[in-house]
Subunit: 170 residues, 3 copies
C-alpha cells in the first residue's frame, strides 16, 4: 500500500481533481486538509463550493501552517488524507516567517510512516522566465526545493497537465 | 482512425512543427485553420512566411473566433484539419467578450465526431508563478480549463518540449 | 556510448544534480564547464560552494561565451564534460550581442562528434504566460529555439521536475 503520493502540476491543470480521484479510490472516509484560509468572501465562497463538490463522505480540516498535527487528526477521523496544497502552505509559511527547511523536514518525516495514506498536491512554478522581484525568485526557489524534498519522501509522484497525468516516480 | 488530437506545449517548444508533421501524415490535402489575424505588418509577414513553409498541398482558412464553421469548411476542401492555436483563439474570445464555456462546449461537440481528422495546438501557460494582474490570472485559468476540456474530447494528447513529445493520452 | 545528453528542467527542479550524477557515472575525471561569472560576492560564494559540493575529482573551466574551445580544453584534462547551463550562456550571448544562431550551430556541430561525452543543462522557460517585455519575449523565444536545436544534436534528452526525470529522447 502506498504511504504518500505527490501530485504536481500547473495552475488549472486538473491536479486537485486527480488527487481527489486517487483519495476516493484509496479510502471510504477521506479527509481533506485545506491549507487555504477564508480571508475574504470570494475565497470563503470558493471553499464552500469545493466542499460541496467533494461529497458527503469527505470531512475537512483547516491547516494553513501545521500539517503534521493535521495529519494526526486526519488519521483519527478517516482512512485517507488529501493535503491541498503545498504551494499555499509554503506561501503561508513564508508570510509567517517560519523556517521552511525545518517545516519541510517535519512534514517529510511524517510522510515516511503516516498512519493513513497521504496524497499531497503541489504546483510546479519554475518553468517560466526568471521572476522580476526578489520575493518572486525566493518563492520560486523555495517551491522547487520543497517539491524535490517531498518527492523524495513519497512513494509515487505524478505530473498533471490538461487533466492527464504522467508518472514521474512509481 | 484518430478523430481529434491535441498538441500541448510551451512557447517555441516545437508544438506547431509537430502538429504539421502529424497532419502531413494524416492526409494529402491538409487545411490550416489560423486563429491569428494579420493586425500589423510584422504579423502579416509572419503569416505569409509560415504559409510558404507549409508547402503547396496546404490550404488556409482564417478563423479568429468561429472554429466550428471553419471545421465544416475545412472538411469540404481537404482531408485533415490543423487548428493553430487555441491560445490565440482564447485570447480573441476574451477580447470579444464571448462566453468561453459555451464556445468551448461547441468546439468539443464538433471534435467528438468531426468529418475529417482534426489536430489542435495549444499552449500550457500555468507552470510559472501566479501572474501579477487579474487579467493574467483570468487568462491562465481559462487556458487551463480549456486545455482540460479539449483534452477530454480528444483521442490523443501529446506534450511537446524542445521539439520532443510525450504522449499524455493514447 | 552516448555522445551528448541534454537535461532540461525548470528552476530548482534538480536538473543540475541529475546532470552531476550522470557525469559521475560516465567518467572518473569529470570537467565542469561553468557559464556563470562571479560578478558579485553572492555569485562568487555560490560558485565556491558548488565547487566544493562537486568533489575533488572534478575540475572546473569558466566559459561564459565560447563553449567550443572549452569543450576542447575539457577533453585535454578529463573524460566527461558537464556544461551548466545553456540558459546563462544564452543570456551572456545576448548581452554581448553575439549571433545566437551562429553560436548555436557551432556548439551543435561540436556535439555531433565530441572528443569526450558531454552533458548539457538547460532551462525550459516557455510554460508561463507571455512575458510583459519585448526582451522577455525575445529571451523566451531564443531559449525555446536553442533547446530544440541542441535537443536535435543530442543522443539523449531528459526533462526533470521535482528531482525526477522523464526521458524525452533515447
Amino acid at each position: 500500500m502506498l504511504k504518500a503520493q505527490l501530485i504536481l502540476g500547473g495552475a488549472r491543470s486538473g491536479k486537485s481533481r486527480r488527487a481527489l480521484a486517487l483519495a476516493n479510490d484509496a479510502g471510504s472516509s477521506p479527509v481533506f486538509v485545506a491549507t487555504a484560509e477564508a480571508e475574504d468572501n470570494e475565497m470563503a465562497e470558493r471553499i464552500v463550493r469545493h466542499k460541496a463538490e467533494r461529497g458527503s463522505e469527505w470531512s475537512t480540516l483547516e491547516a494553513p501552517l501545521d500539517l503534521v498535527p493535521a495529519l494526526g487528526a486526519a488519521a483519527r477521523q478517516g482512512d485517507v488524507c488529501l493535503i491541498d496544497c503545498l504551494t499555499l502552505w509554503l506561501s503561508n509559511l513564508m508570510h509567517q516567517d517560519r523556517d521552511i527547511e525545518a517545516e519541510t523536514a517535519k512534514l517529510c518525516d511524517a510522510l515516511l510512516n503516516p498512519q493513513i495514506p497521504v496524497i499531497l498536491v503541489s504546483n510546479e512554478v519554475g518553468l517560466g522566465l526568471v521572476p522580476d522581484t526578489p520575493l518572486g525568485r525566493a518563492f520560486r526557489d523555495a517551491q522547487g526545493r520543497l517539491n524535490q524534498t517531498v518527492a523524495r519522501a513519497c512513494d509515487r509522484v505524478e505530473f498533471v497537465a490538461a487533466g492527464l497525468s504522467i508518472t514521474l516516480k512509481d
